[in-house]
Amino acid sequence: MTTMKLRGAPRFSPSRRRFVQGLAMVGGLVGTGILNAARAAARAPSVLTGDRFDLSIGETPVNYTGNMGLATTVNSLLPGPVLRWREGTTVTLRVTNRLRVPTSIHWHGILLPFQMDGVPGISYPGIAPGETFTYRFPVKQSGTYWYHSHTKFQEQTGLYGPLVIEPARGERFHADRDHVVMLNDWTDVDPERIFAILKKQSDYFNFNELTVSDFAHDVSMLGLRGALKERAMWNRMRMSPRDVIDISGFTYTYLMNGVTPAGNWTGLFQPGERVRLRFINGSSNSYFDVRIPGLKLTVVAADGQDVEPVTVDEFRIAVAETCDVIVEPKHDRAYTIFAQSIDRSGYARGTLAPKSGMEADVPVMDTVPTLTMVDMMGAMAQGHGMQGMDRGAMAGMNMASMQGMQHSQMSGMDMSGMDMSGMDMSGMVKAHHARTEYHNPGVDMHVDYPRTNLDDPGVGLRNNGRRVLTYADLHTIGGSLYPHEPVTKDIELHLTGNMERFIWSFDGVIFSKAKPVHFPAGRHLRIILCNDTMMNHPIHLHGMWSEVESPDGQFQVRKHTVNVQPAQRVTYRVKADALGRWAYHCHLLYHMEAGMFREVVVA
């Protein structure tokens, strides 16, 4: 152990390919118990079943990249063991901290007493070194969830694992096999260092900035004038259309069930079987676009809740979301499970095969996504009377005025180059900004007319020739849990940030400067989230469901983590029936730590 290279300084592998792909073989190390990529291709993840669990949190040496690192693990596993509970039972989980620092485990998406929720400083004081904390609560739901540390950056260093809860009355959708597919992002770099780097140079990990050849492409599409205008617009705003995620494959090695792409985790099937794949995005800061070339994916559950089956080719899974799909491989061949990161800087990869050792072609990653006008301006760039305007014409709009615009009027916006006469603003929903979003160095933009549609797969997935899942496709079976209760209170919160300074917040106010958000007990609330940034944010409310509404206010889908796309407005209902104090935050770990966090008080 003492000779191992520990996390602490950025250290990148001398071989980029090996770095991205990860190690496939054991590295000739003498130590025992070292997790590495060779672990268990075809070996099922460790599963613990029952209603009593003993979990031990400690440090485990790992080697995913050629460099030794120290992971924070549950029972020396990365990911931690799959915990299989059963709806209707009461589970007891004894968690012992064998670290030298405090730790915690949060049961993500689980309805439970707030003291059992596992958030230090809100639910409980955390678990001190050497201490054992006993969680005990009734299991009132079923489906695919996960657990993770809520302490500092331990989630980044490996403290996470899958949760599968069997329905009391059996699975609604029959499957012959059941595989958990957990996606994670591993880095050899100390996450505290990553956080500091982002504060110093927020584009540090982005090697996808637009280039001369991209510009040449734009010229061919828009003409020189249009291309120049478009580029000028972004530059004037000091924003990059390639700024889709903060941390990339430059430092991340993406894992599938704890196995690198080169290690090739493999799930077995017999041709003709129905195979349920329980996807969990347990990463700290990575969105994945998942597909299995050659197979249709029938989505049957989102965030643990059964949905009306919908068949797609691909889905985007935001951080902390879960998505259950059923596939029916008919042939005696291997299929690649391909999960490319949103910025196409890397991918997690595994294989479905009749027997271990088989492989299928690994697709080439898609082109690097570029944010569009819709991601910047929301509804202003959508249909709404703007039909007939091409992209070049849009580029002529002076977006710089977005930053200085008087929000009570449109006059601040220079649309002189456009014919506004046909523009119909009536169909657009106006954002209701908070005063704290102004005169605030922590806020870099406001979107006055966010888009409200849910049928957009998001940047990088639009019109890619594949059928891609959107929130508009998700319909929870059985509908709302509170179909007849009117909403009696709205709470609007805006997702804000300054990408340059790497400050993230709600309403321009970071957690440490904010007050709790009060949910009056028993009330049926509507949360209105408007994204005033150009990044996706997966917003997670602890302890209560988020029942997402369609743009016309109808129930859409029940979730625990709601992704809000750039310049998008999403609303959801919350039944404030869980008394106590709860965490509410962006589940991009680095955004949360930078201040995009609130405490909710239900009282």
């Binding site: 004037r236 005169h439 160095p441 609007e492 440490s512 904010a514």
Partner: protein, 401 residues
Amino acid sequence: MNTTTRLTTVLVLALASTFTMFAKAQDTVKDTDMHGVHMPESKSKPSQPKHKPNALAPATASSPAKSSGVHGMDMSSMHDMPMQQQPAKASVPPTLVTSSSSVQSMHGMDMQGMHVAPQSHQGQTTEQDMASMPGMQGMPMQAKPSADMQHLHFGQMIGTRPKPGGLAGAMDGMAMPSMQGMDMSSMQGGDAPQDARSSDYSDGYAYGSMPGMDMNDNPSIGMLLLDRLEYVHSRDGGNAMAIDGQAWYGKNFNKLWVKFEGEQADGKLQDLRTEALWDHAIATYWSTQIGVRHDFGVGPGRTWAAFGIEGLAPYWFETEATFYVGPDGRTAARADLRRGIGSGLSDAEVGLRLRYEIRREFAPYIGVVWHQRFGRTADLARAQGEHADDLQFVAGFRIWY
């Protein structure tokens, strides 16, 4: 660093300038308009090392010009600052100020004569203080909102080799008519709409007393940047080492910020400008910086009070503008505009650097810098056996942690 290694060509578009503000010696300030910046000198020394890559120190020379202070300091790059455009008048001829010249004649920016150093002017100005700069009393300044600020024309500045009147002309549209029109508070985002809501949903509930909260969303972080650690070879044959860097430590909106820029030649320190500043974020991309500066080197050691702003202008121009006030009433200003991660330059220079980014934090480079002097400055340089223009070859590193 393997695949992440990038070979970067950095075209330095810096138009950094070091210039003197005209001291207001005796006259009462009546004119509140900010006219063109006249930059007659950058150094008060009689001569400088030929190979000097940058004029490091702000001009210390002063003149009896009847000017009210900071004229036409170009703030227009600050996108969020409402300013009104004002057609500038003809630029000043490259002469040093005559005491009779009215401020109105100094529209536009005159970068000439930067190396002229009539020492005789030194000390003539004794009473200037910041108060003589209208509008400078206490930032933030009063707003005079204008949408015109949105329309900037950097193209006119970029890559333009200053020539007499040329730069001034290019900057006409950007001249800031009045410092009083500058509103630091509205640099970003405009004002909240009338119907803006509260962000307080607490209904009186406060955080509980539960221990263990470990969120730290306003951490203290430090950074050291050596933007240029550079060897300079001048066509005139001189060699020098130059350093330009900064370090900061602090939280989201308040930092201690240290800057240093210096040069060593012939085995001795020629110049070293050091500054210690309180950096306070006031807008999305802008901070005020207030503190002290001390100059070391062959010239007279001087201590100044420093007032400035630093930030990111539209089109990714890293911008610094600092005003300095010395104990004897001397004033100076320094403006620095860099595109991307180019190096800071002074005077009128255009440089091309080929940088090899071994990793983000470490990038060696080589480059050439074209340094041009104009008008009487050029004459003086020639008189001293120097070229009016200077082609320098540089090699160095950019390092940060």
